[in-house]
């Protein structure tokens, strides 16, 4: 039951947010996060945002591995 998808928070009303999943908007519960803001990307599982998505760290891990490739692979 790990299927969870990222979406962008476009509106917040108390514990409920509206999240945009590439054009489709749905109500999402925000009970499990304490600091969600409009514009944040969140990972949503069974209608609940379970974590924020950190794009900076996504970039970091790919860059780190590209560096590893270039050292080992001699590219």
């Amino acid at each position: 039951m790990c299927l969870a998808i990222p979406g962008k928070v476009v509106e917040i009303k108390g514990n409920v947010g509206i999240v945009d999943f590439g054009g489709i908007r749905r109500e999402v519960r925000l009970d499990l996060l304490s600091d969600v803001k409009v514009g944040d990307y969140v990972i949503v599982h069974t209608g609940f945002a379970i974590e924020k998505l950190d794009e900076r760290r996504a970039r970091e891990i790919l860059e780190a591995w590209e560096e590893v490739f270039s050292v080992i692979g001699g590219e």
Partner: protein
């Protein structure tokens, strides 16, 4: 930026690295415990692309598949007993749970007998049904690992705050690390573990770390794009080759070391750990979540708790148990694709979209 995790050229590069690293080493077996990882592996044909000495095993990653027959049957009995006592229950559950077979039928069969059974996407939908039907009792049959237990606890918090009295749950929540520990204790051999990314989102990397300390097994927390899984495999090969018993977080764009602390606090506010049965796997110590005594009024079994007969977990010849232990792949089962299909499932692993048999059937399993 995130598109890169599905990028063919990046995947190809990692795959070449894997082939290089795996040259001349003995067979390595890596296990994952997540239906969504299995989906990525099978959909992307990763097993067929890996060198022959690197094997991916699928473990007990489908919470609906391991939900005990006795609990499904008990829930059906509760509906019947309540009706005899003139109380109408609206039963809600997830779509795959709705179709899971037992020797006396499924929730879908129960609906065909005239009971009010509804499929929901979220426990939040069940809550809304309870608000709309104040004269009826709504029971959410609640399966799932930590990723689903957290939303359940989050919803219960609102239900308690609002004093919503016509909403109860039937908790069959389970914890994943104890299941992996049970497999290790039972002698299932694997050289590295691919940890489920979204369970880890809740429990954190630290929730898995004790397995590396106790069993010396390397682990990688991985995301769900093909590049995530391939990177995970490459990391595990390197750790094994260097003899490093470590846990690495590949899915760091989402998962933190400490996990989602707020979600953990909510889970431990409402639930306590107990020994629990897993369908086809037996009782696993400290692997189930039960509502704490002070929250018993939220659990339907406090009000109705009929006896149910002992029933077999699986049909004769069904290999679901071995598949869940990572000891067999679906194609080794005599029923697979013949007597057992998603339309007419024999075992639970063919029903759920997270079941290994279902995933193999859906994608035609490139082996």
């Amino acid at each position: 930026m995130l598109e890169k995790f599905g990028d063919k050229a990046v995947a190809q590069k990692i795959l070449e690295k894997i082939k290089e690293e795996a040259k001349g080493i003995e067979e390595l077996r890596f296990m994952h415990v997540c239906g969504t990882h299995e989906d990525t592996v099978t959909r992307s044909g990763i097993r067929s692309l890996l060198p022959e000495n690197v094997k991916i095993m699928s473990g007990p990653g489908c919470p609906v598949c391991i939900t005990p027959v006795e609990d499904i049957v008990k829930m059906m009995e509760i509906m019947k007993v309540a009706r005899e006592e003139r109380e109408e229950i609206i039963l809600t559950t997830f779509g795959d749970m709705y179709r899971i077979p037992t020797p006396i039928g499924s929730f879908a069969d129960l609906k065909s007998q005239g009971y009010d059974v509804r499929i929901v996407y979220s426990i939040y939908d069940s809550y809304k049904i309870a608000k709309e039907n104040p004269d009826k009792l709504v029971v959410h049959f609640s399966p799932g690992f930590e990723t689903t237990a957290a939303p359940t606890a989050g919803m219960l918090e609102s239900i308690v705050e609002e004093g919503l009295e016509n909403f109860k749950i039937y908790s069959v929540h389970r914890l994943t690390p104890p299941a992996v520990e049970a497999l290790l204790n039972a002698g299932t051999v694997f050289h590295g573990l691919i940890d489920p990314g979204h369970v880890s989102t809740i429990i954190g990397v630290k929730g898995w770390a004790y397995l590396t300390e106790k069993f010396g097994i390397p682990q990688v927390v991985a995301g769900f794009e093909p590049v995530d899984v391939l990177l995970g495999i490459l990391i595990l090969i390197r750790l094994v080759k260097r003899g490093e018993a470590k846990i690495i977080n590949e899915y760091n764009r989402v998962v933190k070391w400490e996990g989602n602390v707020k979600a953990q606090e909510l889970i431990w506010k409402y639930f306590e750990v107990k020994d629990a049965k897993w369908r086809a796997l037996g009782v696993i110590p400290r692997s189930g979540l039960e509502l704490k005594k002070e929250w018993k009024e939220l659990e339907i079994r406090t009000y109705y708790n009929p006896e149910v007969p002992k029933l077999p977990d699986l049909e004769k010849g069904c290999l679901c148990g071995a598949v869940l232990r990572g000891l067999a792949l679906p194609t080794q089962c005599q029923h697979f694709g013949k007597t057992c299909t998603p339309r007419h499932p024999v075992g639970p692993c063919m029903v759920s979209y997270e079941g290994t048999c279902h995933i193999f059937y859906k994608y035609g399993a490139l082996m």
